[in-house]
Each structure stands twice: as structure tokens, then as C-alpha cells.
């Protein structure tokens, strides 16, 4: 696998995902976890956790993280460039030539079809990503505990991230120590 492949993969992701960063996640998962096996499902969720904990667009952060995991600093640059380039070029064209295209009836009809489908794509990605997390009671309970504030209370994502990290640490602290294997802190 080389830099061009990383660049082209994220170029494809960047060019074909409509509806903002979260809409890109199902496609990123499909490419990164399923097709190229660059990351496992859990590793991918961890990448998303880092991406969401830091400022910036989730999709861009995820691209940088995945690129780095696969091929170091040059890999992250290839992924970043690929993810950004399509939307940069498309917006440049729109800003320069046709702001009116958003009022075109055909464009509107196509998007009326795409929009509800984006919700299904994201929901499906959660289902697949959660395969291992949901199998553990701790993960399943925490997920439903956090879902309510995530949807209805318009919680700042950072608060949920902090709460999740705290819950993980708390569980670790409360667990009986002896039978645990020693973690290696290299």
C-alpha cells in the first residue's frame, strides 16, 4: 500500500459524501475497515474518539489519524489532501460560477432522495461499529445512557467524551486488581 492509494481512497471518500462530516463516517468505515483492513473495528472507533475529542471537522481529523496509522506523517498528509481536495474544488466552482445551482429543480429532487438515506447510512455504521462494544454489558449500558443526552439535550459532545473517559477509568478503578493482566506501558 502506498501514499497514492491512501490519497485516492480519501479522495473518493471526500468526493462522494454529502451532508457533512458524520455522513462521511459510514463511507470511511467501509473503505478503511472493510476494503483495505487498515484498521480493525475497535481501532476505528478509537480513531473516531480521538477525532471527536479534538477541534476541527470529525471527518478531516479521522482522515489525518487513519493516514498516520497507516503510513506515518506522509500518510496523514496524503489522507488530508485527498479528503479536503474534492470539497475545496467543488465549492470553488460553485462560488465562482453557479450559486444558482442550489435552486435547480433536478438538483433539489436528487437531494430529496439522498437526505433521508444519509440517516440510514449513519445508523447502519453505528450498528456495524458497535458489534464488539455492544457485546459487553458495560458498553451497551453506557451507549443507551449517553444516547438520550446526545439526541435530545443537545449536549456538547465534549461533555459526553469526558463522561465516557471518566466512566472507563471508574470501572477500571473499581475492578478487583489481582486477576488482571499487567498492561505494558512502553
Amino acid at each position: 500500500m502506498n501514499y497514492l492509494q491512501i490519497f485516492l481512497t480519501f479522495l473518493k471518500i471526500g468526493a462522494t459524501t454529502f451532508g457533512g462530516g458524520y455522513a462521511m463516517l459510514p463511507v470511511i468505515r467501509q473503505e478503511v475497515v472493510n476494503r483495505h483492513s487498515w484498521l480493525g473495528e475497535e481501532e476505528f472507533i478509537d480513531a473516531l474518539a480521538v477525532a471527536q475529542s479534538l477541534p476541527g471537522a470529525v471527518a478531516i481529523n479521522t482522515a489525518v489519524f487513519v493516514g498516520y496509522k497507516v503510513k506515518g506523517l506522509p500518510g496523514s498528509l496524503a489522507a488530508l489532501l485527498g479528503a479536503v481536495l474534492p470539497s475545496f474544488l467543488v465549492i470553488l466552482l460553485v462560488a465562482a460560477f453557479f450559486v444558482q445551482f442550489i435552486e435547480n429543480r433536478l438538483v433539489a429532487a436528487a437531494f430529496a432522495g439522498i437526505r433521508p438515506v444519509v440517516a440510514a447510512l449513519i445508523a447502519f455504521a453505528v450498528m456495524r461499529l458497535g458489534k464488539t462494544v455492544f457485546r459487553k454489558k458495560f458498553g451497551l449500558i453506557l451507549f443507551f445512557l449517553f444516547l438520550l443526552p446526545a439526541v435530545f439535550l443537545r449536549f456538547n459532545p465534549i461533555l459526553l467524551i469526558i463522561a465516557g473517559a471518566a466512566a472507563g477509568l471508574l470501572r477500571e478503578a473499581l475492578q478487583p486488581k489481582p486477576e488482571r493482566e499487567k498492561g505494558d506501558a512502553r
Binding site: 471527536q52 470529525v58 481529523n61 437526505r115 438515506v117
Partner: protein, 173 residues
């Protein structure tokens, strides 16, 4: 000079928009309509509509659009670079640190709690998108059909999006 200003303005916005693109909208509004006056309120609404109809994250879309309006091609380039810079640097730092500490017991404990939280956030996004877009029966049929296709076939999500666009042209025209 305006190019440097665009870079720095978007650097600032990129640094403070924690929690995804939509968090940055109020920041953009304040910086470019109220403070700098580079944008009208109508253009701002246009940007949101265009960002939703074009590929990619809303942060990149907004930076490119505002940069172009204020400073032409170079304006759009520097605005986009500005909005990316902070997150790219921070993610790289985090990824480098994690390479050394990923297998640490406490780091793994943190991730065991972060995973369900992240999944809840993404599921929350799915529900928010559904509540905003599944507004009538045909939209509900579209969403349900896409979900079933995803579950029972190995179709790529991109193909599903293309099918949805084609079906949209037939149904909603």
C-alpha cells in the same frame, strides 16, 4: 494582507470548533458578518445550503466559500489551510502520543468508556438527521429501503447514495 487575515481568522475558528462542523457556524457568523463584514446574512444562509449539497465537511465548504468571496482563489486556499491547520497538528500530536501509550492499562480503560460515548454521539447524529429529513412517507420509504439494502446486501454506501439520487430524480421531480 487579506489573505493572511483569512488564514488567521480560520485558524482561530478551526481551533475553537470542538465537536464538529455545525459548532463552527455561530463562530463564522460572529467573525465574518458582525466583526469583519465580509459576508451578508443571505450569503451565510447560502453557504449552509451549499455545504449541505456539496461533498465534504461543512467546515471546509464554509472556509473555501468565504475565502473565495473575500479574497479570490488565494483567499479560498489560505482560508481552507487555516481551518485545517489546528486540527491536523493536534491530531498528529495525539496519534504520535497514542502510538506509545495505546496499550497502557489506563489508556485502554479510557477508550473502553469512550467507545460507547462515541457510538452514542454518532447514533445521535443519525437520529438528528432522520428527524430533520424523514418528514413524509416517501422519505421514510427511502430511508427504510436504504437501511435494508445495507443490512442484506454488500452494496457500497457510495452506490446507495447514487441509487438514492437517481430514485429522487424519479420520485421527487
Amino acid at each position: 494582507m487579506i489573505i493572511l487575515q483569512l488564514y488567521l481568522s480560520f485558524l482561530k475558528i478551526g481551533l475553537f470548533s470542538i465537536g464538529g462542523g455545525y459548532v463552527m457556524l455561530p463562530l463564522l457568523e460572529k467573525e465574518f458578518i458582525a466583526v469583519k463584514g465580509w459576508l451578508t446574512a443571505t450569503e451565510f444562509v447560502d453557504i449552509i445550503a451549499i455545504a449541505e449539497m456539496t461533498p465534504g465537511p461543512i467546515a471546509i465548504n464554509a472556509a473555501t466559500f468565504i475565502g473565495y468571496k473575500a479574497g479570490g482563489f488565494w483567499g479560498s486556499l489560505f482560508a481552507t489551510a487555516g481551518v485545517i491547520t489546528p486540527s491536523a497538528v493536534l491530531v498528529l500530536l495525539a496519534a504520535t502520543a497514542l502510538k506509545h501509550f495505546y496499550h497502557n492499562r489506563l489508556v485502554q480503560a479510557v477508550f473502553s468508556g469512550l467507545r460507547p460515548a462515541v457510538l452514542a454521539l454518532i447514533a445521535g447524529a443519525a437520529i438528528s438527521v432522520a428527524r430533520a429529513t424523514v418528514l413524509n412517507l416517501s422519505a421514510a420509504v427511502f430511508a427504510a429501503a436504504a437501511f435494508l439494502l445495507l443490512v442484506f446486501t454488500r452494496l457500497h454506501p457510495i452506490l446507495i447514495l447514487l441509487l438514492a439520487a437517481a430514485a429522487g430524480l424519479l420520485v421527487f421531480r
